[in-house]
Amino acid sequence: MPVETASRVARTTTGRGGLLARKRHRELLLIWLLLTPALLIFLAYRILPLLWNGVLSFQFWSPTKPAEWAGLFHYEEMFVYDDVFWTSLYNTFLYMLTAPISIGIAVVLALMVNSRIRGRGVYRTIIFLSYPLMVVAVGIIWRWLYDERVGLINYLLRQAGLIDEPIAFLESYGTALPSVIAAAIWQITGFFMIILLTGLQNIPPSLYEAASIDGASRWSQFWRITLPLLRPSIFICFVIAIIASFTSFDLIYVMTGGGPGHATELLITYIYKAAFTLSQFDYAGALTIVMFVLFVGIALLGNLLAGGDAGKVDIAE
């Protein structure tokens, strides 16, 4: 427990006596007290549940039967035999394409709404408007837009003469995942745009002025000033996008339920299915652990790619 650590640290400091040490002791106590509520929440709702999954993943377990040791059985099952796991892993990576695409679009949009043009406040609001929406409702709306017979998208494409036959966007193997990804991008891009916009506004104008005097083109200014200084903001977007890619349960659940086949199955929807539909809570536990390890790895890698210090400066240290 953090609190115990704190008091232990505190005791040793007091032992030495002196005003400074007592002050330090009080400060440490305060620090740990301030951290405690958050730590308790995470302990109860993140760490304990993760441990629960971890323990189950090494057992044969069902709600009404006593547990038996299973060793690596579920992990072997997953990696060697279960091609749905591999499909959903692959889909999850594809789904992560949401990150670069939406961040890319968001950078362009942020630059545009950051320029001195009339009505930029209105543009910002409109573009952000989709983010606060309830995801379940967004799923329902987009399913309606994608409808094969009377959906707006099919109607527009047919009117424009781009297609002859309506496309069953959410029911075809080839189009289901891209269609869901498009809806996800629609929802999150505005949020990224705002984060990046704030990043842009924090870049001192003097840097651009100096560069202009040096004769740097706008293009090279973008690459040499804007982008590097935006890195912390981009990193935040990246982290949020990664988290979104494994919490996009509601959207998939409402729009396709993981189908057709497993064409839109993500790890998170597969975990849900394995646990509740197939009653394999032990196996779902193993999937959860693998997913957790995977995402921590990706986050670390992302941090590294972002220049290592970019993330650290802003988030970690």
């Binding site: 440490l28 549940p49 929406l133």
Partner: protein, 270 residues
């Protein structure tokens, strides 16, 4: 850098705005249209607009109840997030042994998907005796890690000299938080309010699992019940969607300036 044509930017932004707005329009159009919504080709403007679907949705679901529950939970979540995240964010601005590990722990916790931990989370809530209560609904959302870091970044940006000056003026240390830091971190406060509101307002699976009484249900559950009544073949569903979305949009529109500033400062490094 001031002499460049503006119209391509306007053209692009208008196009993007259209893409963003059309889904809203389409669902609204469907919700008030008077003709069969399955007619092809669909009309681009509403035919015989009428409020029938809204009346239908209103009577199918105890909307005021659901709305109030959503509001109560959102208020609890927002308040808790402000207090807990500000406290933790403030603590992280200090140096102490084990800080690195705490930060890593927070980051790792971000990577634990809540949907995969529903069952143990339910067991925890059950042990706390909080099933079927507003507090039980709100508790898992009491702290968002991103928001902790928003506060930390915001506190870091406050010049230490200000705090030093306050101390010299005799402000007790524990009051510094409320009298100096929080007022200066107002944008982070705004970001916390809005983000925790959005996340609590939209939560679907958690209330589904822990709420038993109809009187305790929140709006997203109303949506699910709605689907159970009508499948998705009726304009009433889309009317209900509009009713569910409107409050969130309203809150955002009212608070957007603060919010956008909040995120701006959050992204700035200290």
């Amino acid at each position: 850098m001031h002499n460049y044509p503006r119209w391509p930017i306007h053209a692009a932004l208008i196009l993007v705005s259209l893409v963003m707005l059309v889904p809203f329009y389409w669902v609204f159009k469907t919700s008030i249209t008077g003709e069969n919504i399955f007619v092809y080709p669909p009309s681009l403007i509403p035919v015989d607009p009428q409020p029938f679907f809204y009346v239908d949705a209103w009577y199918a679901i105890p909307f005021p109840y659901f709305f109030m529950n959503s509001v109560i939970v959102a208020v609890m979540v927002i308040a808790a997030n402000l207090v807990i995240n500000a406290a933790a964010g403030f603590a992280l601005t200090k140096e102490f042994a084990g800080k690195r590990w705490i930060v890593l722990l927070f980051l790792a916790c971000m990577m634990i998907p809540f949907h995969a931990t529903i069952v143990p989370a339910y067991l925890v809530t059950s042990h706390l005796g909080l099933l079927n209560t507003h507090l039980g609904l709100a508790l898992p959302a009491f702290s968002h890690i991103i928001c902790i870091f928003l506060f930390k970044a915001s506190f870091d940006a406050i010049p230490p000299s200000l705090i030093q000056a306050a101390k010299i003026d005799g402000v007790p240390e524990w009051q510094i938080m409320f009298r100096i830091l929080l007022p200066l971190a107002r944008p982070a406060v705004a970001a916390n309010v809005i983000l925790s509101f959005i996340w609590s307002w939209n939560d679907f699976l958690w209330p589904l699992i822990i709420i038993r009484d109809v009187e305790m249900q929140t709006l997203p559950l109303g949506l699910s019940t709605f689907l159970a009544y009508f499948e998705d073949t009726t304009g009433s569903l889309y009317a209900f969607c509009v009713m569910v979305l409107a409050p969130g949009l309203l809150v955002f529109l009212l608070a957007q300036r603060q919010f956008i500033e909040g995120l701006t400062s959050g992204a700035r490094k200290g």
